[in-house]
Symmetry: C2
């Protein structure tokens, strides 16, 4: 499914769009093309209403308001984290689903934050001014400082509207924006079906179609303890769209890499993607085997395992795409053409310089430090919630003593509310599970850096990964939110005097971790940013601006239509229906139907449409996005792409790439005829 990937994918300005290609910013929707192809008029009121109906789940998804009372529709897999956090040994909401019989029974998610994009401000000129004439590394620092400053000033001036400002880099440095969001942190779960039906088919069916996954859930946003008034919301069209009908997806696609340079793609093919696949395949094996030690371990590992399996499928798709030599041939020829065009324009050539070679050299430098960066700073080496707490506390204390714009970006004022809310939230913590992931990641750390590496020597000269993990997890007190709170508020002095072993670990390795981060930022990120900015300039100059930026987990609109495709000579029909769900059920996970569904079988219309596919160009982060018709009505819920959509990270192929959505009819059927959630069904239909 379309989970947002944390992978730091860098990307460039897109080529001129063809077919239904493109994840367009709301200020640059190709209205003429859409009007011409689909006879649909997306005028400013349409766009404005849709924009304000969309919510960003800060955990990496999209949702939409579907009633005037703050009800939000998204995917079930976007609710997994909340479901896991509110579950316990006695109440397994992941497996059993959740239904609030009244509004007062809706359950608050400990860490969920929702944002609605209210305003966008172009600040490209200000950023350019702040970095003018600087060398790469200096410019890179100055740019970050300027963005922190702009965010802080914006947030301050938007206080009366209660908006939070975030800078956004589009077209890989071709444009900079401030996006202003209204944030909501009282988010409550209203409904989730059983995991077995929401993720029916599990990993085997994931990224495949035909499909029968009821991947939806309902949240409600509260403000001041009351359901939010949400006049901007999508009304429901229960019969869904017709074959060939235009559909629009509004949401927050996470990241794409459509215009990496050839050398950047080669780095992914040769270094980052194989490393990811091997590491996480082993992790998958460990999680699966650990899950088999009991029902409780299975429940605890479920969400994480599902996300690892999902990411593995994505990365395998990346690998397949990157090993396609025709991809490299096409990218190489596009790059050659652009470079020729630049060469032919003396002034442009001066401005662009050796951008491609500079990016390639930076990529080579990255290759040298890749493992060290990945394991010490990139999260691969200390895979543990307790360690993240420790690092946040250690870094937060150090950064807190600096002026806002000189801090590491993630500790800038604009980010602090998220950081502290996540640090201090009362979320369950499972030491046995921590042992699995931490010992695994220490094993891999040693494997990647070698037993004679300085950090490995420091940590593992008298311990094995297992024994060290066990000692840290057993002895740390950071599982207690009160302890974390005290350390967070105690700042640098509290951290310096703490003898908590996890804090000590984070403190001990911080020097080396920051050192490799500095190399990364100055010698990889900085020259890459500079090169990409120049390449973006070249593209604007040569190809014009009727184009879209790579995805950046910011609001985009994609257009397309309901349409199947041809797979190995066979036509794939765009709709699935309920009957086949029952035929495919085996009684065993992940093809098991919950008892409630088996019981309801006789009263359900077997012809009810279940899932369907469209040509919309979307990617992870779009999970939970509504499919909207030309009249702005909700006609589907995006939750996945077909297997070909994964290559969409690098290019869009309109003949094969498909969005997979839940049909509104099956959602209503489930609510009314299986779960008896009639009030919610009525609310969706505007009958309340």
């Amino acid at each position: 499914m379309f989970r947002s990937l944390a992978a730091a994918c860098m990307a460039l300005l897109a080529t001129a769009a063809v077919a239904d290609e493109g994840m367009w910013t709301f200020d640059n929707v190709p209205q003429a093309t859409i009007q011409q192809k689909y006879n649909a008029k997306l005028d400013p009121p349409w766009l404005n209403k849709v924009q304000r109906s969309i919510t960003r789940f800060e955990s990496g998804c999209t949702g939409s308001f579907v009633s005037p009372d703050g009800l939000v529709l998204t995917n079930h897999h976007c609710a997994m984290q909340c479901l896991a956090e509110i579950s316990s040994e006695s109440a397994n909401y992941v497996d059993d689903g959740f239904k609030a019989t009244t509004r007062s029974a809706e359950k608050k998610c400990p860490t969920q934050i929702l944002s609605v994009l209210v305003e966008m401000e172009n600040v490209t000129a200000k950023v350019a001014a702040a970095t003018a004439g600087m060398q790469d590394a200096q410019a890179n620092q100055a740019r970050k400082q300027e963005l922190s400053k702009l965010e802080a000033a914006c947030t301050k001036s938007s206080e009366k509207n209660r908006l939070a400002c975030e800078s956004v880099t589009l077209y890989q440095g071709g444009q900079y924006f401030l996006y202003k969001y209204r944030r909501y942190d009282d988010v409550r779960l209203a409904f989730a079906p059983h995991h077995a039906i929401a993720a029916f088919g599990g990993d085997p069916d994931n990224f495949n179609f035909p499909r029968w996954s009821l991947d939806f859930s309902l949240f409600r946003v509260y403000e001041n303890g009351k359901p939010l008034r949400s006049p901007n919301h999508l009304t429901w069209r229960p019969e869904g769209p017709q074959v060939g009908e235009a559909t629009f997806v509004a949401g927050h696609p996470g990241s794409t890499s459509r215009l990496l340079t050839v050398e950047q793609l080669r780095f992914q093919r040769d270094t980052s993607v194989p490393s990811y696949l091997i590491r996480n395949s082993e992790l998958r094996g460990r999680l699966i085997q650990w899950s088999k030690t009991g029902d409780e371990p299975a429940r605890i590992a479920s969400d994480y395992l599902q996300s690892v399996e999902n990411a593995l499928k994505v990365y395998r798709g990346f690998q397949t795409a990157l090993l396609d030599d025709s991809l490299f041939a096409r990218k190489t020829s596009q790059e050659r053409e652009l470079r020729e065009r630049v060469k032919g324009d003396q002034k442009l050539a001066g401005a662009v310089g050796n951008a491609w070679n500079d990016a390639a050299a930076a990529q080579e430098r990255y290759r040298q430090i890749y493992d060290r960066y990945l394991y010490l700073e990139g999260g691969a080496g200390f895979n543990s919630k307790l360690f993240s707490y420790a690092r946040t506390l250690v870094r937060g204390a150090a950064e807190g003593t600096k002026p806002n714009e000189q801090r590491l970006r993630e500790y800038a004022d604009s980010n602090l509310p998220k950081v502290s809310s996540s640090l201090l939230a009362t979320t369950p913590l499972y030491p046995n599970f921590e042992q699995v992931t931490l010992s695994f990641s220490l094993d891999k750390l040693r494997e990647a850096l070698g037993p004679d590496d300085s950090i490995v020597g420091k940590l593992l000269s008298k311990e094995s990964p297992d024994s060290l993990a066990n000692k840290l997890i057993t002895e740390t007190k950071l599982g207690d939110p009160a302890v974390r709170k005290a350390l967070w508020e105690g700042g640098a002095a509290a951290i310096a005097s703490s003898n908590d072993p996890m804090i000590a670990l984070a403190r001990d390795i911080d020097g080396e971790a920051r050192a490799v981060r500095k190399i990364y930022e100055d010698e990889v990120q900085a020259p890459v940013a500079s090169a990409q900015e120049r390449i973006a300039k070249a593209r604007f100059a040569v190809y014009g601006t009727n184009t879209y930026p790579d995805a950046t987990f910011t609001l985009r609109l994609s257009y397309g239509a309901v349409e199947g495709w041809t797979e190995k000579g066979q036509q794939v029909e765009p709709f699935t229906r309920l009957s086949r769900l029952f035929e495919r059920a085996t009684g065993k996970d992940p093809f098991r139907l919950p008892q409630g569904w088996l019981d309801a079988r006789d009263r359900l219309d077997m012809n009810t449409p279940f899932c369907f596919v469209t040509t919309n160009d979307i990617v992870g982060g779009n999970s939970g996005s509504p499919l909207v018709d030309a009249q702005g009505r909700l006609v589907g819920l995006a939750f996945d792409g077909n297997i070909h959509s994964i290559a969409g990270s690098f290019w869009y192929d309109g003949t094969m790439n498909r969005t997979v959505a839940v049909h509104p009819a099956i959602i209503l059927t489930a609510l009314k005829d299986v779960y008896g959630a009639n009030d919610l069904a009525k609310e969706l239909l505007g009958k309340r």
Copy 2:
């Protein structure tokens, strides 16, 4: 370490050798080159004696006779299978090592068979005659039948010398030989050190150097209940070789792929290698996590886990090599040159035809059936000893009704002794471990073929991989050797009437498995064999015969010298010494020293050489090979290569590729000063 890989690597005739390149057959050793470069004279008596001192471990290793009483030196990792098989919950010989204090205490290995190559007979002309004028698929069948026939006739005529004959394909069909072996099946363990010192450094140090692994063990071959007389054996040179001195490795390198066509390499890069890495990384994770459930699981999984980890390192090396675009560029240009030369010679061009395109087309066909072949026939889908028993029984019964030369090759008369000995041996079987591997492989089968595949539907329409594996393992009686014996002897009738669920499974899927095998043999193997034979012809014609064939787990000689290398600008010294072993010990696996070594520390000479490297060109299967000096004396024991040696599968780079060996001095020190195995030490030194 250099375990032999089962991977069916196909390879072509080698290019003219440079540097210390080449795994030479004993009938074609480049004596002049060796004489010139190393001033060493490998005359026929030298070669004859060394040849007859070498033993092939049929499980995938090499050994050598090191006393007149049948004592055989090999690696500890080559003894792991025997150690596991003779261990039990009460006697853990894997962890604790094994020492027979008297000869009568030497312990028989249930499944170990050793072979000594006595004679080689060139049968190229006979094979050519048997396939003359045939189409690919027909020729492929005829070739196999002819080889089965030749083997059977040879074995029959060699009865009085008790020789077993095996056909060998060299130069990818450029030559066919019958190799005649004396076989020994009473092989007893005499000595093995603790696993912790034999595999010191474990997976992190594996394929690395500097190194401190005491990877040796001693077996003794018995005949008629008495130690074998072995007049051909290697004498010991305890001080080992000097830096720069010539060393010769005689042994059985498993397989290399140095002259695959470019499209065959691409198949490995894009299809087989990524698939292998992802699948086995997950298996590794499952095995590790299962090992953590107790000491007994850890012991049971140890050998298999070690071999999975070893293979993973090899395949990661393959991947790195294959993603090196300069490798492809070099192979492409070599191929282009040969094709041009062929084109320029009308007669040759006629004989070679479209060989490269034919091989490429076959490779494309392979890609289409790859997963199905791999999972149904290639062992990936039913990873279980119990299932292998079942398949052997089902297939053996069916094949047994056919004339020898019409059987599947592995059931030809020449192979039957190995098949039945392995089927009927009393080796321990661990149902819980079977559950781990079988459920894993069924999971992967479903993942690869998809939930809607016919075989998957047959097996998993009402079961999960876990529940099916559990049912099969719990209910089958094949764990009992007597049951297997009865079925084996009962033949087709016994199999047809068996209601053992594992037999039923093997029976049920046999049709589809044989069907995909037939496609593989007729549409992949046959055209590839034909193409490769023609390409081999082209190479002989253009480049002559002063060259060596790819490795085929048959006897070879490699020459080289003791020499370090330069790693990232740092010189790596060729020898390690004992002192650093103690400095690197952490007290925790895999850097833990056994108590006996800690106790012995004060009486050991810390300057004793431990391991060393040479430029010899070897590969998995060479594990346990002796390093021999110009006088034919044993000066080392090969057990591994450095990380660069893995690319040796595709090419030999004399500046980086190194063999890693145990030094004879540390073996003697261990026997005498740590383990008190004085009799064995004396026997090695010829003092008995």
